[in-house]
């Protein structure tokens, strides 16, 4: 075989590979497409004709979406709102306070700092079930059971990974920069906020993405801590559709699921690069 033939053969095998992967990709999005199909279907047809296109008598139009808004005796917009509030507040608190603490820990490096740091690393291997009962009671006693106060619980339980990641990055920043700032008359506070913080931006994005994904999708912590008659997040809302009123309206459930994953997919497509980088950076945690 001469060189040209080898190249042609290689090109051909690459095309075949590309087509095979393309087919797998189509299969990969089928579950989401099934959700879309069924969100426009009358409930009774969801179970019998799951994979058929909605047509004629099985087509429900927007009924499922309208019904879904008030479905399960709790308005959907409220759980969406609470999900947003909790995610935004928790992520903000975690980013601000853990980055400050990680900088302090790395620079001061006293015995107390090292103790806090190792406790944080240790907390990363502790599964939530270990503390769920006592944590929910503690949160109850301290009135951390509302969407506006539960971020404190997230800050506490999520501090480990964030401090670990920030501390790793701070160690790589040359001390000379901060020394220069100190010589120019910056106090620690100003050094941190106008010199260190801007440099932390890439890690901020990675940690932020990880925390957003965790808090937004979290089910067990909020369901145990919040008073769920009053406050529900989206995962709680969807879980409580089942079992509350006998048979579930699958069509309306799929409409709700579609409404809850559309923002996630848009968010993903907008900052895909950062998300993939952040997730890869957080691979140290299980």
């Amino acid at each position: 075989m001469n060189k040209q033939q080898t190249l042609a053969a290689e090109r051909r095998s690459k095309t075949i590979l590309s087509v095979v992967l393309g087919v797998i990709c189509v299969i990969y999005v089928l579950p989401v497409l099934t959700v879309v199909l069924n969100s426009f279907k009358v409930n009774t047809f969801v179970k019998t004709d799951t994979f058929a296109f909605p047509s004629g008598e099985s087509f429900a139009g927007l009924d499922n979406f309208i019904k879904g808004m008030t479905f399960g005796n709790y308005p959907f917009y409220k759980s969406a709102l609470y999900s947003v509030i909790i995610t935004v507040l928790s992520t903000f608190l975690i980013l601000l306070f853990t980055s400050m603490a990680a900088w302090y820990i790395t620079r001061v490096n006293s015995r107390f700092c090292r103790a806090v740091y190792y406790l944080c690393v240790f907390s990363m291997v502790v599964p939530f079930q270990m503390v769920m009962f006592t944590l929910s009671k503690t949160a109850d006693t301290l009135k951390l059971n509302t969407p506006w106060t539960i971020p404190v619980v997230y800050l506490g339980f999520g501090a480990g990974l964030a401090i670990f990641m920030f501390a790793g990055f701070v160690k790589s920043i040359p001390l000379e920069i901060e020394e220069a700032a100190a010589i120019d008359g910056c106090g620690p506070l100003r050094t941190y906020f106008s010199v260190v913080l801007p440099m932390l931006k890439p890690t901020m994005i990675s940690v932020g993405i990880l925390e957003i994904m965790w808090v937004w999708n979290d089910y067990l912590l909020p369901v145990l801590v919040l008073d769920i008659n009053e406050y529900r997040t989206i995962p709680i809302h969807i879980q409580y559709l089942k079992g509350s009123y006998g048979t579930v309206d699958l069509g309306a459930t799929m409409a709700l699921i579609l409404m809850s994953i559309i923002p996630v997919i848009i968010f993903y497509l907008l900052c895909q690069k950062h998300i993939i980088k952040g997730v890869a950076a957080g691979a140290v945690k299980g």
Binding site: Y28, V35, F97, Y104, T138, L155, Y192, N217
Partner: protein, 300 residues
């Protein structure tokens, strides 16, 4: 040098005065959200209690009860089997996809985007999506995912593959891109076939990524909760001769949850003991991983 040291010290001294601001919030939240519940949890695992205020110390009784509980040992073996099975499937498939995507084919970026996408959907939502799909298929044969435990098992495997392959793929792609180009070139010149290059050059070079991914999928499998709850919630149930029930597709985390918040509040001590056992198990896997990756870093 000594001048620099002194300057550092004065910088640190100044910084220390601000410790309440820098450390205060995190330490306070960390005590509330982790340290105190953790310590209290250890203590309560040796107590008999329905509410925390009325806890009575009883020693190792809860642990004995936990190990005697047939539903707990069932959940343990079920979880272990699930974790290992999902580890094999997820890693083999994720590696294959990552390998294919690093061959410089057309559309790699688009494919990568698609494969990673399910990772962002939460466990509860995933569970409901797949329970609809599985029941859509199984109802044609007059059955349901809730009726047979083997459907529940393989259903959960498929669900986890769908969710996790994209994640592991990202780690594998990073590893594969770091394989030195000249090594691959040298293998080619020496006349190695594609398979020989894969097994003798590529795989040994991505071993660190393989280790990370294997540990990740193992711990993910052990800690699985949301997907398990939403897909089958432990069904089908089997009633034992002694009247107790075993939820055949219930994993460890769900078993602990059900013991805590089930109808029998007196079992909370046992539940806390189970949680401690679960913690030791998961932490042991985590520590082995930490040890292993650290050793590798030293070698490199």
């Amino acid at each position: 040098m000594s001048k620099k040291l002194r300057r550092d010290n004065s910088m640190i001294r100044q910084t220390r005065m601000w410790s309440p601001l820098f450390m205060g919030p995190v330490v306070a939240a960390f005590i509330i959200g982790f340290v105190w519940p953790f310590v209290q949890g250890i203590y309560l695992s040796f107590c008999k209690f329905k509410t925390i205020s009325k806890a009575e110390f009883i020693g190792f009784g809860n642990y004995v009860k936990a190990f005697q509980d047939a539903s707990f040992t069932h959940a343990f073996w079920y979880t272990a089997l699930f974790a290992v099975t999902s580890l094999v499937f997820i890693n083999v498939l994720a590696f294959a996809v990552a390998y294919a995507l690093t061959q410089g084919i057309k559309g790699s970026n688009l494919y990568r985007t698609v494969f990673f996408m399910p990772n962002l959907i939460g466990g509860i939502v995933l569970g409901y999506i797949w329970s609809m799909i599985f029941d859509g298929v199984l109802s044609r044969y007059g059955t349901s995912i809730l009726l047979e435990s083997k459907y529940g098992f393989w259903g959960l495997i498929i669900l986890m593959c769908w969710q996790q392959i994209g994640y592991m793929m990202i780690i594998y792609i990073a590893g594969l891109q770091a394989v030195p180009e000249d090594m691959l070139e040298a293998a080619k010149i020496d006349g190695a076939t594609k398979w020989q290059t894969l097994f003798k050059v590529t795989i040994p070079n991505v071993m660190p990524s393989i280790t990370i991914c294997m540990f990740l999928s193992l711990t993910n499998g052990f800690k699985l909760f949301d997907q398990n709850l939403a897909l089958t919630a432990g069904q089908p149930y089997i009633i034992q001769p002694d009247g107790s029930t075993i939820n055949t597709t219930e994993m460890l985390a769900l078993n602990i949850y059900n013991t805590f918040y089930g109808s029998n509040a007196a079992a909370r001590g046992t539940a806390q003991a189970k949680a401690v056992i679960f913690f030791i198990l998961v932490a042991a896997i985590g520590l082995i991983q930490l040890n292993y990756t650290r050793k590798r870093e030293v070698q490199q």
